[in-house]
């Protein structure tokens, strides 16, 4: 008897990891030879520029050798053949390396490293020739190998810089040994200075001289690589810290967005439901019930608004605003944008705007400056009487950047209460009587933004007559100015802090 086959979905298993997954491995990043290709090529071009200096020195020496009596006056032998040949070889090589380096732009780091290595090998070979002709032990010219060793320590990995050091040691030792063995005749450029003949009468002095030079090079290699490693490690630590800070900022922004949504959405649902009830779409309500549902509706709107302000304020308080990207801002455009946002409220309250907005510029975090003006202009409308006028003016203000004036004909603020209006949750009795919907956080937000941007806010008010806010914005081009950036996170949501 056949059995019915039942397809059963495989059991899925997931175990919560004990540690939070990180975007990169925790702990210190390894110090490695990971300079980017662009930086390596930049250094390769710098090598080429330095090499022209050596070409110039050798060329000058060769020309001096051709001028009768010029070298002898400087205490040098009149040599011109090898300096001019070396200068010519270096010049030709340099032209080739410059062209190759330019062609490598946009290439991989591996190709850039090969270019650097070719330059180092070429230089060491030419230098060994120069060291031989100038006097390998008779002069200090052999210490020119140290330039290559130090530069290799900075731009190449520890292993590669050691390889450069050992190549320099081997080339120098071969040169000196060949001279000691009589395969090459020892040379000097100093006029009247003694020249060795083979190992000479003191072979141990010869060996010690060579060993001392090699020992100094190896010591320089060790010290330089140690210092370079330390600097690279700090550099990577800083880069990693910066990456984590940026990730934390992004994470916090998303969290703020989600928190606002999660807190406001339930009130939106309650508000909508109460409206359905109040409209009678579910049947007539007794007057008293309708009044109570009206209270629920009003309270919901107020709570939603308060949550908005609280999250904004927490956002402003918790972040280091100095770290946010600041940009040059068109004050007129921002003021117009804020007025457009508040226009529906003005129409609802039968308040009209009288605007005189002229072009002016400042520097700051755009969304925060918008918050400041939205709150000030919103307050002017909210605390105006029906039929009132709110005047908004903006204009450039000499060295101080821009000045914006927002003036209403509203209820005004008693003189004794003016110093308190920027405190969190502070509301005058007059304001509460005029409007029960405010959170008392709007001007606290204004204070935070103003203090972070160096914006001067001056308030004049006469009870029952109106209030005038004068806002002085700093000039354009302050520190940390950046161009406008893409306001989008990985989620496609706009983010600017």
């Amino acid at each position: 008897m056949g059995m019915a086959r039942i397809d059963v979905a495989p059991t899925a298993v997931y175990e919560l990891p004990l540690v939070r997954a990180a975007a990169s491995a925790p702990g210190l990043p390894a110090v490695g030879p990971s300079l980017p290709a662009s930086l390596l090529l930049k250094n390769a071009l710098w090598f080429c520029r330095l090499r022209w200096i050596v070409v110039a020195i050798l060329g000058t020496l060769g020309v001096l050798g051709l001028v009768p009596g010029a070298c002898s006056r400087l205490g040098l032998l009149p040599v011109y053949d090898w300096p001019l040949v070396a200068a010519g070889v270096l010049a030709l090589g340099n032209l080739g390396f410059s062209a190759a380096t330019h062609l490598l732009k946009g290439s991989t780091a591996r190709r850039a490293r090969l270019n650097l290595w070719a330059q180092v090998a070429f230089d060491l070979a030419v230098l060994t020739g120069v060291v031989h002709f100038a006097g390998s032990l008779e002069t200090n010219v052999a210490f020119a190998y140290l330039f290559h060793i130090v530069l290799a320590c900075i731009f190449l990995s520890r292993g590669e810089s050691l390889a450069v050091t050992l190549i320099a040691c081997v080339l120098y030792t071969l040169c000196v040994a060949a001279e000691g063995a009589g395969l090459l005749a020892p040379q000097t450029i100093y006029a009247g200075a003694p020249v060795r003949e083979g190992l000479g009468p003191a072979p141990w002095a010869f060996v010690w001289n060579l060993a001392l030079a090699l020992g100094i090079w190896l010591a320089v290699w060790y010290l330089t690589t140690h210092l370079t490693d330390t600097v690279r490690r700090r550099d990577r630590e800083l880069a990693e810290t910066n990456r984590r800070l940026e990730a934390a900022l992004d994470e916090r922004s998303k969290h703020m967005l989600r928190t606002t949504h999660e807190l406001k959405a339930p009130f939106a649902a309650i508000h909508a439901t109460t409206q359905v009830l109040l409209s009678g779409q579910c049947g007539p309500l007794p007057d008293e019930a309708a009044a109570f549902i009206g209270r629920i509706s009003t309270r919901c709107r107020r709570l939603a608004s308060e949550i908005q302000d609280m999250v904004q304020l927490a956002n402003l308080r918790s972040e280091s605003q100095g770290s946010l990207p600041r940009a040059d801002l068109d004050v007129a455009e921002i003021v117009r944008w804020c007025i457009a946002q508040i226009q529906p409220l003005a129409e609802e309250r039968r308040v009209v705007f009288a605007n005189d907005i002229r072009d002016a510029w400042t520097t700051g975090v755009e969304d925060h400056v918008k918050m400041l003006f939205a709150n000030v202009i919103g307050n002017a409308v909210t605390y105006s009487r029906a039929g009132g006028t709110v005047r908004v003016q903006s204009e450039p203000s000499g060295p101080s950047g821009a000045v914006v004036v927002v003036e209403d004909e509203g209820i005004g603020i008693p003189a004794a209460k003016l110093p308190h209006i920027f405190e969190e949750y502070y509301r005058t009795d007059e304001a509460v009587r005029h409007n029960t919907q405010s959170s008392g956080l709007g001007l606290a937000i204004v204070r935070h933004v103003a203090q972070a941007h160096g914006i001067r806010v001056r308030v004049e008010s006469r009870l029952g007559v109106g209030t005038r806010f004068q806002i002085g914005l700093p000039p354009r081009g302050g520190p940390g100015v950046s161009s406008a950036r893409n306001k989008e996170t990985d989620d496609g949501l706009p983010v600017d802090c």
């Binding site: 922004s253 998303k254 703020m256 967005l257 989600r258 606002t260 949504h261 406001k264 959405a265 339930p266 009130f267 939106a268 649902a269 309650i270 508000h271 909508a272 439901t273 409206q275 359905v276 409209s279 779409q281 579910c282 919901c300 709107r301 939603a304 908005q308 999250v311 904004q312 956002n315 944008w337 946002q341 969304d367 925060h368 918008k370 918050m371 939205a374 989008e488 989620d491 496609g492 949501l493 706009p494 983010v495 600017d496 802090c497």
Partner: protein
């Protein structure tokens, strides 16, 4: 009378909005997640889509759906979209009418929650009239 589809994970809000819009004479459907919304619209094309932005599994699922409708679904391309969200235009992370564009936020209008149902009704009427 038009057929409207509300796509919003908040069932309470969607039910209240549907009631008000039904009272105004429209036929209203509700989908609580964006996945089933597309198949629903393929079965019956609405005259207007009322779309929330943030959904539990994806904070920008509303945007994604709007982009998909505009750019990938041939027979839904001209569908008017009214977007709703609880994130305020004043909020530094927020967005407003000036943000609407065809690539990033391809919708026809934008309303912030909490919304007066009268306002919602008038926006819906305006979009339907514009369509005609």
């Amino acid at each position: 009378m038009a057929y409207l589809l509300i796509v919003d994970d908040d069932e309470d809000f969607a039910a209240a909005a549907a009631k008000a819009l039904s009272h105004a004479g429209h036929e209203v459907g509700i989908r609580l997640e964006t996945g089933s919304a597309v198949s629903s619209m393929e079965r019956r094309r609405p005259d207007l889509l009322i779309l929330d932005v943030m959904f539990p599994e994806d904070a920008s699922a509303g945007f994604e759906l709007a982009r998909r409708i505009r750019h990938d679904c041939e027979h839904l391309k001209g569908l008017p979209i009214l977007m709703l969200t609880a994130v305020n235009v004043k909020f530094p992370l927020g967005f407003g009418l000036d943000t609407i564009d065809d690539t990033w936020m391809p919708v026809d209008d934008f309303v912030e929650k909490p919304v007066d149902l009268d306002v919602l009704n008038s926006r819906v009427s305006a979009l339907l009239s514009a369509k005609v």
